[in-house]
Amino acid sequence: MYPELTDEQYSLIIKHLDGSTSQQEDQQLEAWLQANTDNKASFDEVKALWTGAEEASVFEKLDVDADWALMQKNFTLHASLADQNESVSGKIRPLRWVASIAAGIALVLVSYFAYLNLNSTGGIQEIVLSDGTKVWLNEGATLDYPSAFSGAERTVTLTGEAFFDVAKDEAKPFVISTAESRVRVLGTSFNVKIGTNSTEVTVATGKVQLSDADNVNSTVVLTPGMTGIHMGDQVSSNTNENPNFLAWKTGKFTFDGTSITDALDQISNISEKPVRLDAGLQADCPLKAEFEHEPVVSMVETIALMCGLKVKIFNNAYVLVKLEE
């Protein structure tokens, strides 16, 4: 539509756009633009492409496949959280009703025997049971326990996460019962985390036995520094890789050459919002740091600073991303 430009004309326009024309070249260009309307239109067209090309850099910076993966990850996260909420209100509560009915029957049979229910909604709760066992319930956890233990075992029921410091009584094992698992101890301290499909036990002192509720042969004995996981029919044990497994209770985090991915995972355990590295971002940044009663956001900010990253809130998660150039 507009006549093709000569090499000299291109050269002049490009120098002008680059801001490197001499005064003489400026005058030359001005004269050419004034000469006819086609010249001006051609110039405008080239300039529009020039400007458009600059703004097209957005497309160069985008990684569509990575963002598709990221979006899906956030999306499933969102969906699985919704599932969990549903199971809290829809499944566990009826179980508690069953427990109350059982408690009602027990009440008739043995007059001093009563079932109590402690539900920690507003933060961490500490309780001392009748045998002297101390229990710290993490936020959202529920413990069903008798006012006094009778029978051959001391049995409580847990949902969510708790730390137990069990009073020693070798004649009467302490048993934590869930629908799927049994955790049996004599006297020890350990952390129990009941997930939707799994039970995780990490031992601080003493010995703990973790077994399937229906199959006593499926069992592991855990010693300090070990983590037992019960998922499906499988009970397995590993070395505990997370030195900060009690951070929800102690408020303390210690990182000693910890990789940034592990550190963020560990913080994520106690955080309302997930904490993670941006998809596809590789950060080789071993951390050496100690935090005591620091809010999640300030720990995350500090780690970002240490690794030359910055924090973004992305789909309700803290995401560590590259600093912009």
Partner: protein, 200 residues
């Protein structure tokens, strides 16, 4: 300058064509069959860059724009069974992106500042339809840049994407400034030819 492309009414025709294609892919994934997710993935990959580029025009920050665009896609997917789309699917998506950008500003409680920014940018290119067309124009320019010969492409990207002056590029690559200018001329010649051919 954007106006020039609009007046030729060619951009509009291309947009209409792509809307028809988009509505087809929409119908496939709205049908909720076993391929629904695959169709959605395809739809995402075809339209995400444009949605981000559109959002950048409002929020002026790439990461925020990515977040907003992703939210708009997730929202579309979650609501796909309830949606009653009267215009094109893409128009709905872009409207959603735009609304989210505006919500973003009110969340940031910097409405006035950004409102001014929006008004200022509006004065340049009039309305959101134009903003969207401009994003599409840039997307096409990007496609052509990526098909330029290697050396030409490298030099042009250093200039346009990295904001380097011709002299800096010459120094960095150990070539003359004159060569840089020749390569940029070549890039612009090809862009001018290709964008024109595509539009005709």
């Amino acid at each position: 300058m954007v106006q020039m492309y609009k007046n030729q009414n060619l951009e509009m025709n291309i947009q209409n064509l792509s809307n028809i294609a988009l509505n087809r892919s929409l119908l496939r994934f709205m049908a909720n069959g076993s391929n629904a997710k695959l169709e959605f993935e395809q739809f995402f990959k075809e339209n995400y860059p444009l949605a981000v580029s559109f959002a950048v025009k409002f929020v002026k920050d790439l990461d925020t724009a990515r977040e907003i665009a992703q939210q708009a896609f997730v929202n579309l997917y979650e609501k796909k069974d309830q949606l009653e789309i009267k215009t094109s699917f893409k128009a709905y998506l872009m409207q959603s992106v735009r609304n989210r950008c505006l919500n973003h500003f009110s969340r940031q409680q910097t409405i006035q500042k950004h409102h001014k920014a929006i008004l200022d940018s509006s004065r340049e290119s009039l309305d959101h339809q134009d903003q969207l067309e401009y994003s599409e124009f840039e997307h096409k320019v990007f496609g052509v840049i990526n098909s330029l010969p290697e050396k030409c492409q490298k030099i042009f990207k250093m200039n346009r994407f990295e904001g380097k002056k011709n002299q800096e590029i010459a120094d960095e690559l150990g070539i003359s400034k004159r060569t840089v200018e020749t390569q940029i001329s070549k890039a612009l010649k090809i862009l001018r030819k290709e964008i024109r051919v595509n539009s005709a």
